[in-house]
Symmetry: none
Subunit: 544 residues, 2 copies
DNA sequence: TTATAATTTAATTGT
DNA sequence: ACAATTAAATTATT
């Protein structure tokens, strides 16, 4: 139909309502959504405007031969007619406003994909509590805006290599879009997130525009990546799908969730290398492997990563990871478990309880796991094996390899041990990360780290992305490292990383100091010793 | 070659501005034609755009599910920033805008036939100076729109009777589509027109949406009809083919022409009867014969009707009338005469000069007389009998009955006597209507008028369709009649109108006041006396 | 005024 | 041809 949208609009009240109720966080942005829907959001726009006034747009008497003035001149004929025109009640076009929270997410989704498919838009809509039509329009307008704003276009579907001459001179600094920040050669799927923790190391996405913390998935490289932008430089760690031995999803705030990934070994760390003198010149940047740049190199020791982000997205990602993981035998028939951390009051209406299975969406992409998000207490407690904690979606598939599927982790959130750091981000929830969670993997001696190639051209002014970025809601401490200690492996990783010849076979078990590769001081083979694994937030050391 | 678009829009940056000038209208009638033939505007849509960027639409790497993304993410539309972007692909999609004039016509064509055949679209395209593809798309989109806008479907191909249950309950009042406006029981063919004049009485089609003035042909009833929608009510006059004694076609503006019909007797007048209280309820409307409702009842006295509309259509109509007129003997071999009132500069390019004869279109409908419109001076002056004024297509067939075929009327337009009323409508051309043109008929005392049935349920607020509709380009004077004078025949028509028993045998030769039937005051047999026939435009009297 | 939500129209792609 | 979508152009709101 032409609208699917229009279709949507034909039954405004009904549809919109449903949709909203579906997703989880309705309450999250509640007041607003309600208004909209209540009134029939989609003002039905076109649905039946009797005599669209706009129709007679621009009488522009111009005629045939006349070329007419551009679109600009247009006097509108509206007036020319008799006054009766407006007589017909004019459907008020309700104008909704996107909330800042929604905006953050929308921008991230946009960064990841400028033109989401209908299915995806639907997910997004549900996630954010927006009407599909609104979402669609938002993307449309956003695209238009992006286009206007200069040819900065960094189209999302950038296929292969980054065109060498990418920065065309109009980088007004605006929209240093995500893609140019991450400059991956392969297409990626952005996973909206607001918070990442590994042990006590933690990063929070601060504002929508600056892509402080970005999580994405690269199917081509088959890895998950956490990208951090700090002080103008990029840092990232890649987690090959194959390293993931377990995943866990926990509902956090209404629309947000916590995805925990348990790895079999540490991620691969990278630092953005900037040969040219100007740090803003993105043309020549490239990624270089390096040693663990997390504070205290916790990521090398602690193999559990917790990511907070949009619930729908995370679940979707987990599910897809699941489906794509080759080394699983049970992958296709692990029943989903429902969990809810929300109180009954906050539960969205189970509007689609009748949908028992997963449906395929038009794209062939698989289904947005709304079911996971529809917390229907009746089902939640009656479906699936009872040996799984009811509030946690713990996928047994990833446990298969390295751990017994029987012992689910206790839900890490919300937990009584949650820290109470004050945060302004509504979607953010503090949560505890028990040290022991890396248990399964650790038991098998999977901890490892690698030596970095070391020839970095990174200025010494770069700050390592420790827990406190320049702008943090918490008591951020600006950290600037001079990278005094070159990395050196001190422990042997369980597996051999054949594709990276220069990796040292040893990784430090315990590091005594924060490590950071410096272009001049770090050499292959160097190992860094840091302090104890679980460093408290307060221990963030400034190396400036 | 292939990429049509590419060619059209090679100019990215400027395109928006350019666009306007480029397309359609400009070339509309002159330079453009060349373009078409040359490279075939139609962005050839499907043709074969080799690498339409859009082609690779959305790889949608999105969900993790897909793995092979590598290359997929293809090419995104906008170059990501590199300066090279412009080099190659640059085929933006040019966006043309249909001019208001074109729109008027398109809407009328649409009203008559929602899905014109390719042949017909071609006619339309040429007439309006649009590319065929554009026209095709326009109809497509228009159909989609119509469909959306409610089931108002008035399908064009309605062959026989109008399905009784047509108005299904969702008549929101919009799109009181043409067919529901005219509510004829027989299928009709709409003749796009913008202006109708009978003596000094004149109606102008104001906007595309409101079908102010509609001319149509009803083969079943074998009559031509002028329908007028004013103040929510319908008026119409039918001209049985048999009343037509002469027709004349004159080219006016590039795409438009003037068709003059000379009748042997006055048309049949009708007024829409609305039994139900609400004037917008179309369900119960029906047509009732009535007396001449033209200002000053000019249509009763003056038997020449001038209709301005799309040239191709009018010629087509005239030709068909011609072919269908049973009382003609020479009907099949009257050679067409070409005439042109346009200056050489404005002449469309004879893009199809090589087409000598009429082709058949897919529908079996006969051919669009493009030849009539292609003014090729060389042919124009060398073809056909020389006793016919070169600039006028005067069909001898209709002269056969009542007049000698030898004396063609002087072209009524453009003529030195043309009135200079200021008009904004580009396609409109003022023209003179010499009183004497009714000559042939008048000489035979054909003037007549009839008494109306008179039992009208029409509210007194209905305005008669005088020359000045509520909204007019000219110094329109809003006219609202109270119909103070009941109609009464005062003259005997030359012929007896057997099918309408209630007609009065007499018709007034001169009327002193505007006549309008009022539901309560008019009674059969009444006759109205009006003023002089040729009333000047300024004389429009407001009867409110 | 700008910025952004919403609408309408022309065009594209895929079926 | 139609359905679905979208870019482009506009309108309208805040």
């Amino acid at each position: 139909m032409g609208s699917k949208e229009s279709h949507t609009q034909i039954y405004p009240a009904f549809e919109s309502r449903r949709r909203v109720s579906l997703h989880i966080e309705t309450p999250a942005f509640s007041p607003k959504v309600e208004d909209d829907s209540g009134d029939d959001y989609p003002p039905s726009s076109a649905s039946q405007s009797p005599i669209t006034p706009a129709n007679i747009r621009r009488p522009r008497s111009a005629s045939a031969g006349s070329d007419s003035i551009g679109p600009s001149s247009g006097p509108q004929r509206v007036a020319s007619g008799s006054g009766k025109k407006n007589e017909r009640e004019r459907e008020k076009r309700k104008r909704s406003r996107v909330t800042p929270d929604q905006l953050v997410h929308l921008e991230q989704f946009f960064a990841g994909d400028r033109s989401p498919t209908a299915a995806r838009r639907k997910e997004i809509s549900e996630l954010l509590g927006m009407h599909e039509r609104q979402t669609q329009i938002w993307f449309q307008n956003r695209r238009a805006k992006a286009k206007l704003q200069g040819g900065k276009a960094k189209g999302r579907p950038r296929s292969a290599e980054t065109p060498p001459e990418a920065p065309p001179a109009l980088s007004t600094g605006y929209d240093e879009d995500l893609h140019s920040l991450i400059h991956e050669d392969e297409p990626v799927t952005i996973i909206p997130c607001t918070d990442l923790s590994v042990g006590s190391w933690r990063r929070i996405a601060t504002s929508p525009e600056k892509h402080d913390l970005v999580a994405y998935l690269c199917d081509a490289k088959r890895c998950l990546t956490w990208f951090i932008h700090s002080a103008g430089y990029g840092f990232k760690m890649e987690i090959p799908f194959s390293y993931i031995v377990d995943t866990e999803f926990t509902n956090a705030a209404p629309g947000s969730g916590l995805a925990s990934f348990t790895l079999s070994q540490p991620p691969l760390f990278y630092l953005e290398h900037v040969p040219s003198p100007e740090p803003n010149e993105k043309a020549l940047r490239y990624w270089k492997r390096c040693a663990d740049w997390t504070e205290g190199q916790q990521a090398t020791k602690i193999l559990r990563h917790d990511l907070i982000g949009s619930a729908v997205q995370l679940v979707h990602v987990l599910r897809n990871l699941h489906l794509n993981t080759p080394n699983t035998d049970v992958q296709l028939h692990s029943p989903p478990y429902y969990e809810s951390s929300a109180s009954p009051m906050e539960l969205p209406q189970p509007s689609m309880v009748s949908t028992p299975g997963f449906q395929q969406d038009g794209d062939g992409a698989d289904i947005p796991p709304e079911e996971f998000l529809q917390i229907d207490p009746r089902r939640a407690h009656s479906v699936g094996p009872s040996n799984i904690a009811p509030r946690s979606y713990h996928d047994p598939v990833f446990l298969a390899q390295d751990t017994p599927t029987s012992a689910p982790f206790p839900p890490s959130f919300p937990s009584p041990t949650a820290r109470s750091a004050p945060l302004n981000t509504p979607l953010f929830f503090d949560y505890s990360v028990p040290d022991v969670h890396t248990g399964e993997s650790d038991e098998q001696g999977m901890l490892s780290t690698y030596a970095a190639p070391l020839e970095y051209g990174v200025p010494s002014s770069i700050s390592p992305p420790y827990s406190a970025p320049p702008v943090l809601y918490r008591d951020g401490v600006q950290i600037i490292s001079q990278y005094p200690n070159p990395p050196s492996p001190n422990r042997v990783p369980q597996r051999t990383f054949e594709h990276f010849g220069q990796l040292s076979p040893d990784a430090p078990m315990l590091l005594t100091t924060p490590y950071y590769p410096s272009e001049s001081s770090v050499a292959p083979g160097d190992v860094i010793a840091s302090g104890i694994a679980a460093v408290s937030y307060e221990s963030e050391s400034s190396v400036q």
